[in-house]
């Protein structure tokens, strides 16, 4: 025996409640003078004197509620009425696209389209994704007592969208219909969640400073207002954002205090770049190469917010150097064939004794004579350095060629560990005649 399909007394109706938008149009409103008079008529002094009052008397009386005309659809009341943004709000007219990081909000209405009252309605709303089923609303503990014929019960649900892909809003109602029969109504509203942004990062190490470049690309159909983009460094790092210098022009424009140009990323592929300078706050603890995460908050129409966090961004691991050699001072005047002293400093960055050391200028393979050579003993001896200790020393050099020259290959060698450290980067000097 087949049972005929049960007819439902109730039905769910759903409307997405993202923020409303401002209505935009081209107002077909004008000044009556521009319609009935020649454009140059006011050049005539007689017209200039007589016409304005005539126009005012007959045409531009203020509107009051006893005025049954549609004058407001024809004449301008203020000069800026022709700017088609009245502040009138419009409800979302379509479901639209939903993106990861946004909040899904929906008005749900259960209508009783039958001629009888329904009773004891247990309503449930759930969000079903690929991974989970989240309860948004459940009236099981306090069922709705009744919905009269042609009546309605409304509720609003909100859900932070944290997953991509297919989502289903599952609305169910369990109720007793006009005949006292217990009925079950399931309804499904499906939508897809897409990725609004992609973030590409590049990590570079320049002179032992780590730089993080982040490029944010907008994949949505609307412009995104970047409310906040913040880099949250990992525990042993600190970060500073680097910004380009802004133009100092237009400082005395009266609108300066009102208008700070908004950071807007264009829809459909627009990008914005951010640059951070990162530094290690403590030594020796950079074993992991996790730098941190980027937190992004954006807004769309009427401030509708969205929030996303990147995954952990990895950098190249930096092994801290055991010794640090740097140039403290180079004389400002260097003359050809005259010896000069370069002041250098060697620091032991480890927690144990290192050395003794030898310092020399490394020879490259070419047979060309170096432009700058050590004057005197070709190797300098330095004694041991205690943990975290440092020493200043001087290299006596002599330049054999004029003009811009390089001091190349200042190398430190640890005699006890038999370890040659990488040479100091080339140092440029200018050699003058004496």
């Amino acid at each position: 025996m087949s049972t005929p399909p049960a007819t439902q007394s109730l039905a769910f109706r759903v409307m997405r409640l993202c923020r409303p938008s401002f209505h935009v149009d081209t107002p077909l409103l004008l000044d009556p003078s521009d319609l009935i008079l020649g454009e140059d008529i006011f050049d005539d002094p007689l017209a200039a004197t007589h016409l304005p009052s005539l126009i005012d008397t007959h045409l531009t009386n203020p509107i009051d509620s006893s005025d049954l005309s549609y004058r407001s659809r024809f004449l301008l009341q203020t000069p800026f009425d022709s700017f088609g943004l009245t502040g009138l709000l419009v409800l979302p007219q379509s479901f639209g696209a939903i993106y990861l990081g946004e909040t899904f909000c929906s008005y749900i209405s259960i209508n009783n389209s039958s001629n009888f009252e329904v009773r004891d309605i247990v309503i449930k709303a759930e969000m079903q994704t690929e991974r989970q089923r989240i309860l948004l609303l459940d009236t099981s503990k306090t069922p709705v007592e009744s919905i009269r014929a042609s009546g309605r019960y409304d509720f609003i649900v909100e859900h932070d969208v944290k997953e991509l892909g297919a989502h289903t809003l599952v609305c169910t109602a369990l109720y007793s219909d006009g005949d006292g029969e217990r009925k079950y109504l399931p309804q499904f509203f499906k939508f897809i969640v897409a990725n609004p942004l992609s973030v590409r990062t590049k990590v570079r190490v320049v002179k032992e400073i780590t730089y993080l470049e982040a490029c944010i690309e907008n994949h949505t159909k609307t412009n995104l207002y970047m409310d906040q983009v913040e880099f949250e460094p990992a525990p042993n790092w600190s970060a500073k954002i680097l910004k380009a210098d802004e133009h100092k022009s237009e400082d005395n424009s009266p609108s300066r205090e009102i208008l700070k140009p908004p950071v807007l990323v264009q829809s459909g592929g627009g990008i914005r770049n951010y640059l951070y300078q990162l530094s290690l706050s403590s030594l020796g603890s950079a074993q992991s190469n996790v730098l941190g995460k980027l937190q992004i908050t954006w807004r769309t129409n009427l401030g509708e917010p969205g929030r996303l966090q990147t995954q952990q961004i990895l950098g190249t691991p930096i092994t801290p150097k055991e010794i640090e050699l740097h140039v403290a001072e180079v004389p400002s005047a260097i003359n050809l064939d005259r010896p000069f002293l370069v002041h250098l400093n060697l620091t032991n960055q480890t927690d144990r004794e290192l050395g003794p050391f030898e310092v020399w200028l490394s020879q490259d393979d070419t047979l060309d004579e170096k432009a700058v050579m050590i004057n005197g003993l070709q190797t300098l001896e330095l004694s041991q350095l205690e943990a975290f200790g440092s020493t200043d020393f001087y290299l006596n050099l002599i330049a054999t060629k004029l003009g811009v020259q390089k001091i190349t290959g200042i190398t430190v060698f640890d005699k006890s560990e038999k370890k040659t450290y990488a040479p100091l980067p080339d140092l440029e000097i200018f050699v003058d005649m004496h």
């Binding site: 319609l35 304005p52 045409l59 389209s113 129409n301 009427l302």
Partner: protein, 363 residues
């Protein structure tokens, strides 16, 4: 007395002459039956205007060059309002180049005596730029608008009398506003902000403009920027000596928007109620209040607010956006919403002006 005796020849009625050499008290001295045209326009009877213009032309009732131009302006405006853009364009095409000597006062010294200059109504230049956009050629229209702006600015450089300068300044603002509209509808919001910035820098600290800047900023999502703009409006409103309701309501509505964006719908409704009490015809406050009620889960009252406004203040409440919102609410509230919409549509057909776009009911 012989009833067939010839009547004395009446002196010929002079053709409608330059009103400024006579004392004039009515609009009809400016153009043929202007009062009637103006009255029809106020009532939104654009179809009647089209008929009247066509009749006047076919019965050769128009005598002076400025009569013809005024009637042309009325018919092009009417056809544009009726969304019959191709016909409007055709009418406009019947004109020579705007700068032709045919449209200058000095070409007709017998009628206009010593007056010189162009008698082209400025609205024709505006519609000449707008119509290509309505017909789908946005680039052409936008170019024309920018050229029109140059034209207006050249007029301002001539340094005419005070009234003339006042009028051309108004026209400058008018054209810039329309340029902003085009960029706004194309979602080029940064350009809009730059244009508004330029207006403000030229000294236009009009609270309506500042409020609209706030709306653009809000639309983008720059809530901080919007707050600064609204703050300026609030200051102007509180310092205003006249305390006129228009300005007070403007500041209130801005405040309500800030509440709305912060999801404090109850406070927004409260602000809008104050606006409506001050001015029962503040349809923006009425519409936005209904929207807030929806976000407060009160669909029934949001519908009531809009329906009652249509009864009480139909001449302003009968607004396409308000109707769109009402129909969205019907679609959500009633399973048989097509009945509600059909009833609404029938009422609109009886009451609405000719230019009302009833496609907004989606029936």
């Amino acid at each position: 007395m012989d009833s067939n005796s010839p009547q004395p020849e009446s002196t010929p009625v002079p053709p409608s002459s330059d009103p400024l050499t006579n004392q004039f008290t009515s609009l009809n001295d400016l153009a043929h039956e202007l009062t009637s045209l103006q009255d029809l326009a106020n009532r939104g009877s654009w179809l009647s205007i089209v008929d009247k213009v066509n009749r006047a032309r076919s019965l050769s009732l128009l005598n002076t060059p400025n009569d013809h131009l005024t009637y042309l302006a009325y018919i092009v405006l009417s056809l544009t309002k009726l969304r019959r853009f191709q016909e409007a364009q055709t009418e406009l095409d019947s004109l020579d180049d705007f700068n032709s000597h045919h449209y200058r006062y000095e070409t007709y010294p017998k009628i206009y005596h010593d007056r010189s200059g162009s008698m082209v109504p400025f609205s024709l230049r505006w519609l000449h730029a707008l119509l290509p956009i309505k017909l789908g050629n946005r680039q052409e229209g936008l170019d024309r608008f920018y050229l029109l702006l140059d034209f207006v600015r050249e007029k301002l450089n001539r340094n005419g009398n005070d009234e003339s300068v006042k009028v051309w300044r108004k026209r400058e603002v008018f054209v810039v506003n329309h340029i902003i509209n085009q960029h706004l509808s194309n979602k080029e919001l940064s350009v809009c902000i730059d244009l508004i910035d330029a207006l403000i820098s030229r000294g236009n600290l009009d609270p309506v403009l500042l409020s609209k800047l706030g709306y653009v900023q809000m639309q983008i999502g720059d809530l901080d920027g919007a707050n600064v703009s609204f703050g300026k409006v609030e200051r102007i409103a509180s310092e205003s000596v006249e305390n006129e309701s228009g300005l007070r309501n403007l500041a209130s509505r801005n405040k309500a928007l800030v509440y709305l964006v912060g999801k404090d719908y109850l406070s927004a409704v409260r602000e809008y109620d104050e606006c409506i009490e001050r001015d029962a015809m503040d349809y923006v406050a009425i519409n936005n209040k209904a929207i807030c009620l929806m976000y407060l889960r009160d669909l029934a009252d949001s519908i009531k607010v809009l329906e009652s406004s249509l009864e009480r203040v139909p001449t302003v409440a009968l607004n396409e956006t308000l109707i769109v919102n009402l129909c969205s609410m019907y679609e959500l509230a009633y399973v048989n919403h097509s009945d509600n919409k059909r009833t609404l549509n029938n009422w609109i057909a009886r009451v609405a002006p000719d230019d009302f776009d009833s496609s907004c009911t989606r029936v």
